[in-house]
Symmetry: C2
Subunit: 685 residues, 2 copies
């Protein structure tokens, strides 16, 4: 038996604190030093290209034992990311009605982070007590003042410069309550949430213009605008939708609500949009469905929505001329509703801001080709993709039309603007692009992703004839949207595609009746070969609707906040942040101010005494400068949990309405003495 006892020599406590800090630092250095992989690369690395090399017998035995096919082995080797190496791409996927944004690595398909957006997320300290984060979420409150603490996130849009992702921001919409959020990719945190002042819901959002000057929020369900009421029988007359153009200021990283405006649209149910680029820059294309203006009422013998909204063969593609809309806004040609500028349908028609053209039935999105020459629409009840020519659209607009819809909006003739239709299969939904002249369309009913060739200027990029279906790969199951690597920019990368499958069925071990979604990674890189399914990634939180894939090295996120005392809400040093020596508890009447610093492994002060009924304002600064030295702060008995990254400051306020003794503590396992990083908050009766 070995049994050692060390008696600590007497000394000052400050020396002991320093010793503990040094011990922790040593541990980190030691850990990093231990991390190298000493083993050798396989002999295959030196095998001549194309020849058959050899692998250790153990690897082959494993494959045999596990029943891996040759395709499985290839897929495993293409997707495995060894420890210490990084994924090449990041996928930003909407979290659906989790209310959050999900960040995955590609090719490993590992979930790197859940970013709190519309739903409080205590691990991140997102809107769980922190004054600044609660205020950001409150920015999306309804006019009634009601706090909404969940969301239905649909479509993330990465910021762009000249039509390419620039890795600076990502925007997302919230369909259920008509909100838009701005996330800063320096710290992957939500900075702003705006509530649409006119519309309760949205869908065709968010999409950015090629230089991110505007964030587009298309509508969905028609309703009386700005919270008005009208019986459903007055649907045609009083129900409307809006498409909102939010002005974005890159320098401040904020939407400028007072420089934004909306365009009124008829009570068709608005769907997804895409911004024109290059030759189509300045145009914005938004699909719609329920041009039938069905109003439901199956219980009264009316057609149910899914039938009534699908009765016609055609819906309307909406073509906005954003430059003309901006000119009308600048010229004051708008009314003001709920303090927000609204360009009427009449003005939109008169000023050439909005044209319609028929699109095959119940489409879900409009996708612009990399060069901006075409818009691809998939009517989900039509087996074709329909390709519109921007050149023809411009010509038709210039030529003028006498045909209008019931609201006076000009309708361009379908045959005048369509370039071609390609039959791709059942239930086409969403199209993405590669760098070899191919488009990829998801097919919900077929549960496949189709690869088809573009024509026109793209025809020379591959050996397939233009505008033809090439192949389709089965996915599992019921694919909604797809995302190709930088596949909706002016320069797609053409290597990876992710299929966002809505149903998983038999793909994963059963974890109860609520199944994960299934994101499947597909290799689309090899020209002339079939697409290959690489990986199934279950999504155990929320339903991704839409995603974008960016090269990881475009993102330059901070490892620690730039300066100690940083307030992420303002992206600057907080004037109330706490430096060493400034800690303490001060009282002004019933108002108690607590100033705390956090560093491994203690909070200063460790004892905070107040009286029942006091109003407490408490600021905490994490004074660490080491990468990953995050501290949490939990205050029992209150809905307060902070996450304090290195350098970060947070403030929270509450009424000390219950007497008692409450031990606060660090919630991030920060050191060997993390459990001792605690203190007592005492509320005297």
């Amino acid at each position: 038996m070995r049994h050692k006892r060390n008696r600590r020599s007497s000394g000052t406590w400050s020396r002991l604190v320093l010793a503990i800090a040094a011990l922790t630092a040593f541990a980190m250095i030691g850990a990093v030093a231990c991390s190298s992989d000493a083993d050798e690369e396989p002999t295959a690395t030196s095998a001549p290209s194309g020849s058959e090399g050899q692998l250790p017998a153990s690897a082959l035995e494993i494959a045999a034992e596990r029943g891996l096919t040759t395709d499985n082995i290839t897929a495993a080797l293409k997707t495995y990311v060894p420890t210490g190496e990084h994924d090449e791409y990041m996928l930003f996927a909407s979290g659906g009605h989790s209310g959050q944004l999900l960040v995955y690595g590609i090719p490993s398909m590992r979930l790197l982070k859940v970013i709190g957006v519309f739903t409080p997320e205590p691990w991140q300290g997102w809107a769980v007590g922190s004054s600044e984060t609660e205020a950001i979420l409150d920015g999306g409150n309804l006019d009634s003042g009601k706090d909404i603490r969940w969301g239905d996130v649909h479509h993330p849009s990465l910021s762009e410069t000249a039509g390419d992702y620039d890795g600076q921001f990502v925007f997302v919409n919230e369909k259920a309550n008509g909100r838009v959020a701005v996330i800063d990719l320096r710290d992957f945190e939500t900075k702003q949430i705006v509530k649409n002042p006119l519309s309760l819901s949205n869908h065709g959002a968010t999409f950015v213009t090629p230089d991110t000057e505007w964030v587009i929020e298309g509508g969905q369900f028609a309703a009386p605008l700005a919270g008005g009421y009208a019986p459903i029988e007055e649907y045609n007359e009083k129900y409307r939708s809006v498409t909102t153009f939010w002005k974005f200021d890159r320098a401040s990283g904020r939407i400028l609500e007072d420089q934004s405006f909306a365009v009124e649209t008829p009570p068709y149910w608005q769907d997804l949009c895409d911004s024109g680029k290059l030759v189509s820059e300045g145009l914005v294309f938004c699909g719609s469905f329920n041009a039938e203006r069905a109003t439901g009422g199956i219980e009264d013998g009316n057609p149910p929505f899914e039938a009534g909204a699908s009765a016609g063969d055609m819906d309307f593609l909406h073509i906005f001329d954003l430059d003309k809309a901006i000119a009308a806004y600048d010229a004051g040609k708008y009314s003001v509703l709920n303090d927000f500028p609204l360009i009427s349908i009449e003005t939109a028609a008169a000023e050439g801001i909005l044209h319609l053209t028929p699109e095959p039935k119940s489409p879900h999105g409009a996708d612009v080709t990399p060069g901006g020459e075409y818009v691809v629409v998939s009517g989900k009840l039509d087996p074709h993709v329909t390709i519109y020519s921007v050149e023809k659209i411009k010509a038709a607009i210039a030529a003028g039309t006498e045909t209008t819809d019931d609201y006076g909006l000009p309708i361009l003739a379908f045959d005048d603007v369509v370039e071609v239709q390609v039959e791709v299969g059942l239930g086409p939904l969403h199209t993405q692009f590669d760098n070899k002249g191919y488009a990829y369309t998801s097919l919900f009913l077929d549960s496949t992703v189709a690869r088809w060739s573009l024509g026109g200027p793209y025809e020379s990029l591959n050996s397939d004839p233009g505008w033809s279906l090439v192949e389709a790969i089965p996915v599992h199951y019921n694919v909604g949207h797809i995302a190709a690597a930088e596949g909706d920019t002016v320069s797609p990368d053409g290597n990876y595609l992710v299929s966002l499958n809505k149903w998983a069925l038999d793909r994963f071990a059963v974890t109860g009746p609520l199944l994960p979604q299934n994101l499947q990674l597909i290799d689309i890189e090899q020209p002339g070969t079939e697409m290959q399914l690489l990986y199934d990634s279950p999504v155990g939180i929320g339903e991704p609707h839409y995603a974008q894939i960016i090269k990881a090295d475009k993102i330059n996120a901070w490892e620690v906040y730039p300066e100690v005392g940083w307030n992420p809400a303002t992206q600057s040093v907080d004037p109330n942040s706490v430096a060493v020596g400034e800690e303490g508890v001060t009282r002004d009447g019933n108002n108690v101010t607590v100033k705390t610093t956090a560093v491994r492994s203690h909070f200063t002060p460790e004892r905070v005494n107040v009286k029942k009924g006091d109003h407490v304002t408490w600021t905490i600064t994490n004074i660490e400068r080491a990468f990953d030295a995050t501290h949490g702060f939990a205050l029992p008995g209150q809905n307060i949990n902070l996450s304090l990254e290195p350098g970060e400051t947070q403030t929270f306020e509450f009424e000390a309405d219950e007497s008692g003794v409450f031990a606060f503590y660090c919630t991030e396992f920060c050191s060997a003495l993390h459990l001792e990083m605690a203190g007592y908050f005492l509320v005297e009766p």
Copy 2:
């Protein structure tokens, strides 16, 4: 150009609905039929064992191009789970201060599900409006009635039968506010949350007895019990902790609060527990730290907690005799505090319920060997693991002791009860076991996991001498707890171990200053070979503290709810569930009742008219019987989002306090016509 227009023949709407339903069904069948993998297994499968087979040149080229080492290739092949195949194990990991429970598959390390527990989770419809789920979360409200809507989940405990996981339930504790939750593994949903009536915080929770008759909730921070107040200067006299024994009823799947009790403990900070098993069944072992009873106050020149609580060389292992505690409870030898039975320290001492023995400094957990013969304690500031003999403990208790602590609890002499100490490295924290006589201990400061050999009856299981360090594998970085496959049961599986690393540092692409935790999968299967690191899995939501790994085939989760109208809160058919034909809106004064069915792709009714000021009670039943045919239900303008799995019924209530027109809709992409699965809720002014 191909362009097809189909005019629908006239017909009844009901026929159209049926046709759409049939189309959807066809799509599913087609999808499943498409899912087979047609490619062949590699030639290696027929290679003689131990020989070197061959792989396609492309696989070797990929490995070379991606720079994969031989170890990487082996790891990729050991962890890749092909599409349609299932993971062999499930890892249940606490979600830390996300408040949730995380379920991973092993060996793929994919996140299969986030289970909503202490924090609302709208994707699952968890406590976002649903009356039943809100009521479950309200079960954990504080005595003040305050809703707490986040939590710090620490230690999941799978239910056991005869000391083996049985796959029926999992329990978790919530440290910040002293709560315990029960999750039913038939549907992976939380069924009950109880608030500790005596203690604001906990830590040594949850741990179950070998047949899950009791769920153990150990304490952490000492404080006046049941919300009382006393100044910190009266710490020794008036601050206490408790260890609570919750009676669990397997038939109802509920903790029986009125058959549960607590045992008072001195104001040492309580730490993790483990239940005895087999030869130690009936005993419960709980570590503690801060036996020094430091009370902080660095700001006043006192030692900070991390120093004050670490000043002594020894803390106290608490040894409860549960049978004697139950006997005392049955005999009424308790007081009642806040309506809860509390066995005092005096009674615990007098009845032989609680003994102490010294344990090396600042331990984090007590881990019982598979046969129950030993208890392994790691003092995190001592480089040894300390192994206590249950036989010696029983003998020492029988022999009696005159030594007591300041509170009169008997102290067993260290040398009388310790079997051996093994030096394993710096910062030992937590120990798990395999089936070959080895123990595995995490080393926080070394950032390694040590494998060491057990002695006594385990010595014959391997060729290493008993009680000796064998090897250590680097992990990345700062490992807290570890989990081996069924590694804390009476029959560990001995193949996989997961290291729950607190810091990630350079392991993943940087997603801002808040880094994910890193769960690393380690192969511990091959006897006589070194442990091998297989996979890094970032945890982008919350901080797993503790985890357990169960064979996936032990879990028999439902694919759909057993009957239509099922209420998951009661696990029975809800008397208010809605059958086809029962849908509608009824009024009784200002109380409006809405009864809705949901099926692909419509809600019935589709129009719901109420008046401002009405109180609305709305029940929705998903009448689907198809696997994965979940519908969501979002009501804009309210914090209401439901997830309705096949067969499920949910009810919500609210005041229609705002007039307007609100389009409700399905939030799960359920069919090609999912977007049309909507309706209008109209609130007349």
